[in-house]
Amino acid sequence: MQYLWRTPGSRTTPEEASPISPSPLVIRDLTVAYHRKPVLWNVDYVAPPGGLIAVVGPNGAGKSTLIKACLGLVPKVSGSVEAFGRPIDKQRRLIGYVPQRESVDWDFPVSALDVVAMGRYGKIGWFRPVSRAHKEAALHALERVGMADFAKRQIGQLSGGQQQRVFLARALAQEAQLYFMDEPFAGVDAATERAVLHVLRDLDAAGRTVICVHHDLQTVADYFDHVLLMNTRVVAHGTVSRTLTPELLARTYGGQPVPFTEAAR
């Protein structure tokens, strides 16, 4: 029995779920407001099929809000979000999510393996316990981020970078087609940065789409194929080489200093 409580009529079998539809994500006219102040304003975006997409913009530009609105975690004033040609809340099993590290209580009494296994819950469904096969899948996901040795460790005893890798492993264990990641590179050590990058490349090679809020303009061109420049509204989007121009960056960051030292390629 699967978790389909919101839309009991729409059963998504894995066969149907294969991404035949051209675009993994279509956002139409999305507006989110706090009181009457827009946080996102008239956002229209069609993500290209497959590839690594960076969401770039200054602080308070609504990058995290964009991801949360896509996932239905904050209320929208207007607009719609579709994944693989259907409303996104009917495509939950195709969506993976890596939230910001601060969003959970790391003192919680669970081990790293437990947290990663949570990524499998969507596949396990009601009443059934986490089977050996699912535990192995979770362990495998931990291996891919280089954290297999820490599987039994309580999550509070991990370093910040290790916690980030656990979150990433959990997203891998979800085996989704479209991933949303909220600043996976923020404040991590070099080893974690390599691990995250490695995972992103793997996902890309497997034809998955990853939409990633990213802070560091220095590395955007190295890590990502596509970029979505935004400051409350979409300023520009496209391939990195065409979009990451000084002129568009200046428009995105407005008067704020662009966190960028060299000229974009």
């Binding site: 999510y97 009494p109 947290v115």
Partner: protein
């Protein structure tokens, strides 16, 4: 004054059994309040059910358990919804939202009790606060032999049977939804992206707390319920880093508090030569508090002394390192 076997079986065994069941059930569901940082929801719900109990009583006109229970459950659900509404829509912090809802509902209950008293029915706010553990009697047993007699067990007082059923319900729900409770407690956002109704589980936990609290009222009163919802899980939290262990441990500590507390209240004064026993519900809460104090002080890794020892070790390590480094210097 000596204690006969028959008296022990008729008076103390059912009361102790009731206390143990209340403590076990409360400790079990209390874990989810403590982990969700909603420890005060227990406080709020157990006060807010008062008008529901009185309304059930006034409507049915008897002290039957069922109508009172239904009324209390409805009041608890109302309180849960109101708190969420005030917190979300009114943008007040959850502590203030709870404070408003439970004080006003409790006040309404107190006024309703007075109205009920005016119409000649007997209901007591004191009883809601600290229960009547001492009035639960099991008249069937006559001696130790009765413990093997099924007929005697069948005559177990209603309160004990209800509490047993509630504990079984809590246990069954926690086992059945263990996985979902874990994920909605740890990361509700992820849970809802997976299609698990995190909001529904929030209300589910509130209602389960309410059910336990209501069943426990008659026997032990709301104060013991609040104490047992929080103190044993909080103690267990300081002793382990694994959720399953925490659940088991908290139930064990709850039972321990019940036995120690009841023993101290019922037999302590007798041994000291006093006539009457002390309030058992209060004493069990005190015992739970002492257990928590011990866990705070002596918990292996999270206790104050344990932490201090770890810091001390680190300090000696650092100073020896520094001495070694100094030694190497020319």
């Amino acid at each position: 004054m000596t204690l006969t076997v028959q008296e022990f079986l008729q008076i103390d065994v059912p009361a102790l059994l009731a206390a143990v069941l209340v403590c076990a059930a409360c400790a079990l569901v209390g874990n989810f309040l403590v982990l969700r940082r909603q420890g005060l929801m227990g406080d709020a719900v157990s006060h807010a059910v008062l008008p529901g109990i009185v309304a059930g009583f006034l409507v049915a006109g008897t002290r039957e358990t069922l109508p009172m229970m239904l009324g209390a459950l409805a009041a608890a659900a109302l309180a849960g919804v109101l708190i969420e509404a005030i917190r979300r829509l009114g943008r007040l912090e959850s502590g203030a939202a709870m404070g408003v809802v439970f004080t006003v509902m409790f006040a309404a209950g107190v006024v309703m009790i007075e109205r009920a008293a005016a119409s000649g029915v007997d209901l007591d706010a004191d009883c809601v606060l600290y229960g009547q553990l001492e009035t639960i009697l099991w008249l069937a047993p006559t001696g130790w032999a009765s413990l093997l007699d099924p007929a005697a067990w069948a005559a177990m007082p209603r309160e004990v049977v209800t509490l047993g059923a509630v504990f079984a319900l809590c246990l069954a729900l926690v086992v059945l939804f263990y996985k979902e409770l874990k994920i909605t407690t740890f990361d509700p956002a992820l849970a809802s992206t997976l299609g698990i109704p995190a909001g529904l589980f929030h209300y589910g936990v509130v209602l389960l707390v309410a059910t336990t609290a209501i069943a426990a009222f008659e026997a032990v009163g709301s104060i013991l319920v609040i104490a047992m919802l929080i103190a044993p899980p909080a103690s267990a939290r300081l002793l382990t880093d694994r959720m399953a262990v925490q659940l088991v441990l908290s139930v064990a500590l709850g039972v321990l508090a019940a036995v120690v507390g009841y023993g101290a209240a019922a037999f302590g004064p007798l041994w000291l030569g006093a006539e009457h026993s002390l309030n058992a519900a209060g004493m069990i809460a005190v015992a739970a508090g002492l257990i928590l104090a011990l866990a705070v002080l002596f918990g292996p890794t999270h206790g104050i002394l344990g932490k201090r020892r770890a810091v001390g070790r680190l300090r000696t390590l650092v100073t020896t390192d520094a001495v070694a480094a100094d030694g190497r210097r020319p």
